[in-house]
């Protein structure tokens, strides 16, 4: 591998406070019972800031603020004015994108090249896209006079903290709802910086409320009777619990949950491009991606060639400092997640699959996991069935297109899938049969605000992005 001098992005652009309150009714306030927790940099384990833990009273306050803003300000406001606030937010995000990208990499552990070139551009684009919908809802195909739902409770994960915030807040506000959003406990900082952006945009108080905390805070929020809509992105287990908790209420629910996507490589695929797609599919964002291509299905007659090429490519991946512009794979987001990846990988070895990682020096401090592939995996192995949510790829083989479809669909999940082949008719034939919400053909992990995203089966329901993304926030 070539040697590169370190090229770290400066963190001086980020001005972190020692501690943060909860963002309720347009202001940062202390939590009622004074609880707090620390957010750390997973690449170094240093404490970045102290963050408030919202309790029952704080949730109550936030929901009340959102209700008041919905009834008095945001609900009655003409769509064209809502649009202008959202456009303002989009612009502020662009203007402060470097700051947000560095903070995202610090708090999450993802490489700066991803936070800078993927997350932040998509965040700004998402606000731009939905801003334009705010005064055109009657043309969105949901009837002549679609109405907002009310107060939305939104709980988001740690893998794309600011992007998931954008996916939640932008359509909710465009449709005329107000929100209480809870970021993940390991990655709350960019959401708090977003709260400052709301202040800078002079967004009316209470339209966006951001409360920090862990699972209990999230549960209290989604179970609050003053909430009209619940949107959750995260694990299937928590999604199930939320679906149970809203049973018997009139709360509208959308869920974007786990995945175990098949990335299917046929023998006529351009192998080098497919290998890039495989690497992107599973190692992008350390594999902390719900739509990651975590099961490689490769046609048997090219399996050796693909694997050889894949291993050669994996040996070129640079694992290390997320702020270094040369870094391909950053830190695992938390000690708990690292433990889960280790546990499932150990199960892969114990169940008889063959494990391989390139020679790879990992930093001493922080949470790290080398890019890993397992060959000789069967469909019964845990690593072929369970979502690992880390840089771990399970390789299976197939002979016929029908067998590829059968194996790809043999999972309770249905979020995404990839197809690599030179034959157009085969792509369309496969795409028709794959039970997945997003199918990438000869590409992988592409996202766009205009493109609906969401799962089949136990990967959840509802779509985010595009015209479809409005539906979850309108009374239709």
């Amino acid at each position: 591998m070539f040697e590169y001098a370190p090229a770290p992005e400066s963190r001086s652009v980020v001005d972190l406070k020692a501690s943060y309150g909860l963002f309720i009714d347009g202001e940062f306030v202390d939590p009622a019972d004074g609880g707090s927790f620390k957010s750390i940099n997973p690449a170094s384990e240093e404490v970045l800031a102290e963050v408030s833990e919202a309790g029952t009273q704080d949730v109550e306050r936030a929901v009340r603020a959102a209700r008041k803003a919905y009834e008095k300000v945001w609900g009655p406001m003409p769509g064209r004015d809502r649009a202008k606030y959202l456009f303002r937010i989009a612009r502020l995000i662009q203007e402060r994108s470097r700051e947000l990208a560095v903070l995202e990499s610090l708090d999450n552990g993802k490489p700066i090249k991803e936070s800078r070139d993927v997350d932040l551009p998509l965040v700004a684009a998402h606000f731009f896209y939905y801003a334009g919908w705010a005064d055109k809802l009657e043309h969105a195909g949901f009837g002549a006079n679609p109405r907002p739902i009310g107060v939305a409770a939104q709980v988001i994960p740690w893998n794309f903290p600011l992007l998931m915030l954008a996916w939640k807040i932008a359509p909710a506000l465009a449709a005329g709802n107000t929100v209480v959003l809870k970021p993940a406990e390991t990655t709350p900082l960019t959401a708090l910086l977003f709260a400052e952006i709301c202040q800078q945009a002079e967004l009316p108080a209470g339209v966006v409320n951001i409360i920090t905390g862990a699972g209990d805070t999230g549960r209290t929020l989604v179970e609050h009777p003053g909430v009209d809509k619940v949107a959750f992105t995260g694990s299937t287990d928590v999604g199930r619990a939320i679906a149970r908790s809203v049973a018997g209420t009139r709360k509208k629910l959308t869920l974007e949950l786990g995945g175990k996507a098949a990335n299917i490589v046929f023998d006529d695929a351009p192998i080098d491009q497919a290998v890039e797609g495989i690497v992107n599919g599973i190692f992008f964002n350390q594999g902390h991606v719900c739509c990651a291509g975590s099961r490689l299905l490769v046609q048997e007659n090219v399996a050796d060639r693909v694997l050889e090429s894949l291993k050669r490519r994996m040996a070129q991946l640079r694992v290390g400092d997320p702020l270094d512009k040369n870094t391909d794979i950053g830190a695992i987001n938390s000690a708990a997640q690292l433990e889960r990846i280790r546990e499932l990988s150990d199960a892969g070895s114990a169940e008889g699959a063959e494990r391989w990682s390139p020679p790879c020096e990992l930093p001493d401090r922080g949470f790290w996991f080398a890019p890993t592939i397992f060959t000789g995996v069967t469909q019964a192995h845990r690593i072929a069935r369970e979502e690992i949510f880390g840089p771990v790829l399970s390789v299976l083989t197939f002979r016929t297109p029908a067998e590829a479809v059968e194996k790809a669909n043999n999972t309770p999940y249905g979020l995404s899938a990839g197809i690599w082949t030179d034959k157009g008719s085969r792509i369309l034939w496969m795409a028709d049969r794959l039970r997945a919400g997003v199918v990438w053909a000869n590409t992988f992990n592409k996202f766009d605000p205009t493109s609906p995203f969401g799962g089949y089966k136990e990967s959840g329901y509802g779509r985010e992005g595009g015209r479809h993304g409005l539906e979850g926030y309108l009374n239709v």
């Binding site: 049973a247 795409a431 990438w440 493109s451 969401g454 479809h468």
Partner: protein, 274 residues
């Protein structure tokens, strides 16, 4: 001359295109007829039949599905008097026929209205299209027995789903007669399966069944039962249509939500290049 002795009809279940009695051998009396009292096993058998029918029905062309639904309207029109004899008002039969026709026309239009190309910021062809979710369990409204039933079956199957319907327990005769209409409409066996009996017996089995993709609770009037069914449905994250309000107007324009809730949106990306 003596009066002719009528040939009476046996009211049975409708599963996989056949008319079996309940495997439990049980029945209950409605309007002087013994109606099958479906068991939990019947419900599971119906799910198996519905699952087996998914591939053919979802894979049929939209045009073909539309033709078959229209055929069902024709058959229903022809049996108008039979429904009237069961006590269904003539106006309701007419409205039910019209509803079949309305939904039949949606078969080859919903993909255009609800899907489409997405203008992504890059050199990609990107298309979203709706697909059926799979097997849908339906608790039909207690009344109107015919119009209510048609209004929940048609939107589910027109897009390619297959259904297991728990019919109105108090007015099941119209449901079984509708099954006879469907059985003569070129609808493949298993696309619609109809269970008569107690909702409290069949619905929990359907709600908890891991091979059911969605549940329509429209006809559940007991709020506690509805909540319990929704909790059961969460186990495999079924799509849920919640109970209709008691004052729901079945003659009003139904809109598209009944169809779209039972659809998945699939988005396919492909690079453009030479």
């Amino acid at each position: 001359m003596s009066e002719r002795v009528a040939v009476r009809k046996t009211y049975k279940l409708f599963i996989g295109g056949k008319f079996p009695r309940s495997e439990s051998g049980r029945s209950y009396l409605v309007q002087s007829s013994n109606v099958s009292l479906a068991s939990r096993k019947d419900a599971r058998d119906a799910v198996v039949a519905a699952r087996a029918a998914v591939k053919g029905w979802a894979g049929a062309t939209a045009y073909n599905r539309g033709q078959i639904l229209y055929r069902a309207a024709e058959m229903l029109e022809g049996r108008r008097e039979q429904f009237v004899a069961l006590g269904v008002p003539g106006d309701e039969v007419d409205a039910a026929v019209d509803r079949w026709v309305w939904y039949a026309g949606w078969a080859d239009k919903l993909s255009q209205v609800y899907g489409g190309a997405n203008p992504v910021a890059g050199p990609y062809f990107n298309l979203s299209a709706p697909e059926p979710t799979g097997v849908v369990a339906v608790v039909a409204p207690e009344r109107p027995a015919l119009l209510g039933l048609v209004s929940v079956i048609a939107p589910a199957i027109v897009t390619g789903n297959t259904v297991v319907v728990a019919a109105s327990p108090t007015e099941p005769l119209a449901a079984v007669t509708l099954a006879e209409v469907l059985a003569t409409s070129d609808l493949p066996g298993g696309v619609v399966n109809i269970l008569t009996g107690r909702i409290t017996e069949t619905a929990p089995t359907l709600a908890a069944h891991m091979d059911v993709n969605a549940i329509d609770l429209t006809g559940v009037t007991d709020a506690d039962l509805a909540a319990d069914l929704e909790v059961k449905a969460a186990e495999n994250l079924k799509r849920v249509l919640r109970p209709a309000p008691a004052d729901h107007d079945w003659s009003a324009d139904p809109g598209v939500t009944r169809m779209t809730t039972l659809l998945e949106t699939k988005t396919v990306w492909h690079p453009k290049g030479v």
